[in-house]
């Protein structure tokens, strides 16, 4: 046997030994991060910057240079996480709620001072919306959910603020030809409409209102007009009249399924199962998600993040897949995604705080949310039972 062949054989054997074992070096106790109670260690480390007296506003504002949307989403995912943390850890509820209030006040101050377009991408800053007065459901829905979850934890502050915003959201969605309101001029996003519906569900619990009819009609219309025929998955973007502009996308779908879990759980679970089939991947013990189903490929954008060649893994879809997996009790996939996070997202620990170098404050906020979500949705479901 020649030395070349011997070397090749040794390399093949070494690969067979090493590559399937690699994930073992990155596996953490995913069960702790998956648990529905207590505060997982990873969450405690991720939330640390938001609990400092100066808060995490500076870090969130820094994302504004990369994406105006990320600024708002970083704030909202952190606020939603803080509400869940307050429910998980009542002993420290005061500090979680103080941090949540700081974020909520600062976000609303920015919206009041600069207008809602402050949080929109450039193309949303100048074009005219179809419906007057102009508003964005992206901004309204996310802020409403912040306000709603805040009140779900503890009833204080002005209850009329949420009621008024929920009324605006419900009116604008009801007016739409496909029961949807614009996030951008003549552009509706399933993500934003699903988040808005979940905010209305929370408002129903804390205000005693009833948006059940709007929710049912939205689901009906979505099943008829907003579902991709090939995959059965909800599309991500459509015009105000309901013309599909972009098919199913992982960076939308996982969150849509999560948000709809308090609106129509069977439909949400079906969307998760379909998304798992079409978008979830696992290689050598590492879990990740692609952005598009094979049958409806799109192009990389700010939502998908860069696509990893060959594997087609999307940072945006993979991060939000954690949210979906946690919501629907998919512990095995959740664990594999967490393993990939430690392998490929470059965690950096400084003192008690953790962040991921490959991510940004918005991505870290999504990861924090994925590790703590659960109690708020449980409370909404419990209290909405007839």
């Amino acid at each position: 046997v020649g030395p070349g062949l011997r070397h090749s054989f040794a390399l093949v054997v070494a690969s067979v030994v090493w590559l399937p074992s690699l994930h073992l070096f990155y596996e953490r106790d995913a069960a702790a991060a998956f648990s529905g109670s207590g505060v997982p260690e990873v969450a405690r480390a991720l939330v640390a910057p938001a609990l400092r007296p100066e808060g995490a506003d500076g870090a969130m504002a820094s994302t504004h240079a990369s994406s105006d949307e990320w600024d708002l989403m970083g704030r909202t995912f952190t606020a939603w996480s803080l509400a869940n943390l307050a429910l998980r850890d009542p002993e420290h509820q005061t500090s979680y709620l103080a941090a949540l209030d700081r974020i909520l006040d600062e976000t609303r101050r920015l919206e009041n001072e600069h207008g809602f377009r402050y949080f929109l991408l450039d193309y949303g800053k100048t074009r005219r919306f179809r419906v007057a007065p102009e508003r964005s459901l992206f901004v309204d829905g996310e802020i409403a959910l912040m306000m709603g979850l805040r009140r779900l934890v503890a009833e204080d502050g002005d209850p009329n603020e949420l009621t008024a915003l929920a009324d605006v959201i419900a009116d604008r969605m009801s007016q739409g030809p496909v029961m949807s309101a614009e996030s951008y001029p003549d552009e509706c996003w399933t993500f934003c409409n699903a988040v808005a519906l979940s905010a209305l569900a929370v408002a129903d619990v804390v205000d005693g209102t009833d948006h059940g009819d709007l929710e049912r009609r939205w689901i009906e219309v979505a099943k008829k007009k907003l579902v991709d025929k090939g995959t059965g998955l909800l599309v991500s973007r459509y015009s105000y009249d309901g013309d599909v502009m972009e098919g199913p996308e992982g960076s939308s779908l996982w969150m849509v399924a999560h948000a709809l879990a308090v609106v129509d759980e069977p439909f949400a679970a079906d969307q998760y199962a379909r998304a798992k089939k079409e978008l979830a991947r696992s290689t050598l013990g590492f879990g990740y998600a692609v952005e598009w189903p094979d049958s409806a490929r799109g192009h990389a954008d700010i939502d998908s993040g860069p696509i990893v060649p060959f594997f087609e893994a999307s940072a945006g879809s993979s991060g939000l897949a954690l949210v979906g997996a946690k919501t629907f009790g998919d512990e095995a996939y959740f664990g594999q995604l967490m393993t990939t996070l430690d392998f490929a997202a470059f965690p950096i620990t400084k003192g008690s705080a953790l962040r991921y170098a490959a991510s940004n404050p918005t991505g870290d906020a999504v990861l924090l949310y994925a590790t703590v979500l659960g109690p708020a949705w449980d409370r909404v479901r419990e209290r909405r039972k007839p």
Binding site: V13, L22, T63, P306, I348
Partner: protein, 101 residues
Amino acid sequence: MRPLVRFAVVTLMSFAVLHVLGFREDAGFLSGTHVGTLLGGVAYVLSYFVAVVAAPVAMIAAALLWVGGRSRRAPVRDEGRRPVSEGQRGGGLAVAPRQAG
């Protein structure tokens, strides 16, 4: 065997140098975030994946070749109870000479 070990050592050292120099912070380009230098971030990420995926494979392969080489030479020492001659060292295809009688 030596080229494999050399490859592993060089890639591990390259990664260690980039890590110590703080280029891990620049990996934000993976999420489309503008942090640090793109070149430093790309170099860090590539060196990291080579260090954790390819370098261990090279080291294991080198270890296998070393073990294989030793086992092929072992009968000479056992049968002859004498040191392996220079001519037999390192020649993977060399057949151990049998003792006469």
